[in-house]
């Protein structure tokens, strides 16, 4: 390094490096002051509230893939309650009111209750987890979520012996959600899991992403994240969790039973009737002309969840 000028990249001590959080704070401060001074419209953009989480210790909770850009994660979504276009949720979800918000816990539990979002947030320590997300349409992302295992909640409400499945119901309010006026699906949107799936530590009850409270279009204030299932299984903006004995039918199963099954595990060997599931395009990362990347069995979570489906014919139970 004798003849190379120091351009600020060499540091005698690691402690001299400005921590990422600090320099990002400076930037945010500068941007914030700029926004309030010169551009009042910018300041009216949806508030971004921090929601930190500690690094999760759950096996499989941290994939090494490069996280998808925040703008893509929050700008390219399926959330039919706000329209069927991928840009509709980001454009229209500002009408969603996430406070006050309650989640009703009902059915086969010893402690049925209605939890408001603030007590739900305090139920267990927040963890950060970086999951792959594979959409049934053939694209994928990598998202740093913030939340805790759904099992934390389930343990506290004490399911009875009859609880074999869990049904999730999401908000369907025409006043807040313009897409609910269309007849694309039977509203409200519901999803279901087998009890052992719901109890799996990877099954995440998410409240945030990228260290911040969930933006409305990503399913605020509380949603499921099931990284080994196609994205639509991860119900957004949940208002009811019901423990039941019989396998519930999900909205997509009702809408199109030949195309969408109850399990909907990511499986490159079982094609969707109208397209192949063997490959996927990683949003923002795979170049326009790059070949699509192969989809992994259970989206790469086979070591963690494979045993849940041991002995099952996955062609039949798709």
């Amino acid at each position: 390094m004798l003849f190379l000028k120091d351009r600020g990249f060499t540091h005698p001590l690691a402690s001299e490096i400005t921590p990422r959080g600090v320099y990002q704070q400076r930037r945010a401060l500068l941007l914030g002051s700029l926004a309030t001074m010169a551009l009042p419209t910018l300041a009216q953009k949806p508030k971004r509230t921090p929601l930190p989480g500690v690094k999760s210790t759950v096996a499989g909770a941290f994939v090494m893939d490069k996280p998808t850009a925040y703008a893509d994660v929050t700008g390219y979504n399926n959330f039919y309650e706000f329209g069927t276009g991928k840009n509709d949720p980001a454009a229209q979800a500002d009408t969603l009111k996430t406070r006050p918000w309650t989640v009703a816990i009902e059915g086969e539990v010893k402690k049925p209750q209605t939890l408001d979002i603030d007590s739900l947030l305090k139920l267990a320590p927040m963890e950060e987890r970086i999951y792959r997300l594979r959409c049934v349409e053939g694209w994928s992302m990598v998202i740093p979520w913030v939340g805790f295992s759904l099992a934390e909640l389930i343990k506290r409400v004490e399911p009875t012996g009859n609880a074999k499945f869990v049904q999730f119901t999401t908000l369907a309010d025409k006043a807040q959600m313009p897409g609910v006026r269309s007849s694309v699906l039977d509203w409200p949107y519901t999803e279901g899991l087998r009890m052992d799936e719901a109890m799996h530590p990877l099954t995440l009850l998410a409240f945030g992403l990228y260290g911040e409270v969930l933006p409305n279009q990503n399913g605020a204030p509380v949603r499921l994240v099931l990284p080994w299932k196609y994205g639509f299984k991860s119900a957004k903006s949940i208002v009811k969790i019901r423990f039941v004995e019989k396998q519930p039918r999900s909205s997509w199963e009702i809408a199109n039973p030949s195309e969408y099954g109850f399990y909907s595990n990511v499986n490159p060997t079982v094609d969707h009737p109208r397209w192949s599931q063997a490959t996927e395009r990683r949003i923002g990362e795979d170049g326009l002309f790059a070949k699509k990347r192969p989809t992994l069995m259970f989206n790469g979570y086979e070591p963690q969840v494979g045993q849940l489906y041991a002995g099952m014919d996955l062609r039949k139970f798709y």
């Binding site: 703008a71 069927t84 991928k86 840009n87 195309e259 397209w275 949003i283 002309f289």
Partner: protein
């Protein structure tokens, strides 16, 4: 109006206008402004424009007869060729961006998925029409035979709408498909109605 349509600059202007969607998509692909999933945007937009140009070219004759703007006929060939142009790009975008030019995979996909099969059939049906679009072909075929061949465009439009319908059916999202279906139905219905009326007139005369 006819005078305006016959203006020497009118046809080049329409030519450039028809090329604008393509230019915008090509620019977007290189400038990376086509959103989070540019491949999907390119495949879908070229398909949308194929359907739109099919509607536009099918509107020429009804519009001409209703309004008396007969100069529109001079654009019909160009508009039809644009439908084929966007159709080719639609197929190319699918074959390239979705299938990576893997011929075996493309053939398998066409056979496996009905909506791809229908779309491919529509494009293949458009090819002979594009190939016989120049004056010498019309003379060689004879006007009657040429016209009979080019009626295949009605089938192309119906297959195109069916292709789009099947593509959207998985999501039960038929709003946009409905718009195209109504337009194509109106354009073809007008022809059927015309034909029936002229037949009825001919019958009363004899």
């Amino acid at each position: 109006m006819n005078k305006l349509l016959l203006h020497p600059a009118a046809k080049p202007l329409v030519f450039v206008l028809c090329l604008l969607p393509f230019a915008a998509l090509a620019y977007g692909a290189f400038a990376n402004t086509l959103g989070a999933n540019p491949a999907e945007t390119l495949i879908r937009s070229t398909g949308d424009w194929t359907l739109r140009f099919l509607c536009i070219v099918l509107a020429v004759t009804p519009l001409r007869q209703i309004t008396g703007w007969h100069a529109l006929a001079r654009w019909r060939r160009m508009l039809g060729l644009y439908a084929f142009f966007y159709g080719c790009w639609h197929f190319l975008a699918f074959a390239w961006l979705d299938m990576g030019f893997d011929v075996a995979a493309i053939v398998k996909d066409i056979a496996k998925r009905p909506f791809i099969l229908v779309g491919t059939a529509a494009l293949l049906l458009m090819a002979p029409l594009a190939a016989t679009s120049f004056n010498r072909a019309i003379r060689a075929l004879g006007a009657a035979r040429w016209q009979a061949l080019h009626r295949a465009v009605y089938a192309v439009a119906l297959l195109g709408v069916l292709h789009f319908f099947w593509m959207r059916s998985g999501k039960n999202d038929f709003g946009e498909v409905g718009v195209y279906a109504v337009i194509v139905a109106a354009l073809l219905g007008w022809r059927a109605w015309k034909r029936q009326r002229s037949r009825a007139l001919a019958a009363t005369r004899t």
